[in-house]
Symmetry: C2
Subunit: 135 residues, 2 copies
Amino acid sequence: MRRYEEIQIGERAVLRRRITSEDIEKYAEVSGDVNPLHLDDEYAKKTIFGRRIAHGMLTAGLISNLLGNVLPGPGTVYLSQELKFKAPVYPGDLVEVEVEVIAKEDAKKRLRLKTLCRNEEGKTVLEGEAQVMVP
Amino acid sequence: MRRYEEIQIGERAVLRRRITSEDIEKYAEVSGDVNPLHLDDEYAKKTIFGRRIAHGMLTAGLISNLLGNVLPGPGTVYLSQELKFKAPVYPGDLVEVEVEVIAKEDAKKRLRLKTLCRNEEGKTVLEGEAQVMVP
């Protein structure tokens, strides 16, 4: 894990990950969220989305991935996350997640990060802010 | 799914679900978040938590479960979620999730809900607010 002192405001990390139909099914199992909007083609066809979409919280997991693996990295303690689901993610979409350090709170070794997910067309699908501790 | 008009401010729903070690491993696969705090006993022993903890975003998935299955139920469109991770969830913990409708925005068929997760001792592990659309 990165040392708190080394991390600079403005520092960024990015990851790209394809959200597959299989991921959606596995996530439905783990979370128990079996909303047909995510799992049932026939049902989803009749909704405003026109087809199945990924669980918003599945896409949000990619933020957790990037925080926990890269910036700040292994050992990160997640304190808070604000999520605004702006547009749907469809099965097969390649999602790019970016986190950027926007503030540091030295006394508590805390970071605030802007968190953003985009689809392949560059459209923002999820945005918000995270707060983490770097112990 | 419940009709928007039927849903009252003050309405609540609750679910209980045990978060198992297997859930944590499956979630690590789905999200790609392999932070050793969640997966590695030896590593976790040396942290402030003393042992492995569940991914915060895995616990958060139970909120998505309750919104998507019960209140408002199947078809719910998730608009936003604020998450404050207040205390760790350990493998094997039984988590109780509660959502309560705190506001309605009729023009857009949107609900605001207070979202709360507690462990078996009644301690709040996760709190925040959700916004959903009931199409």
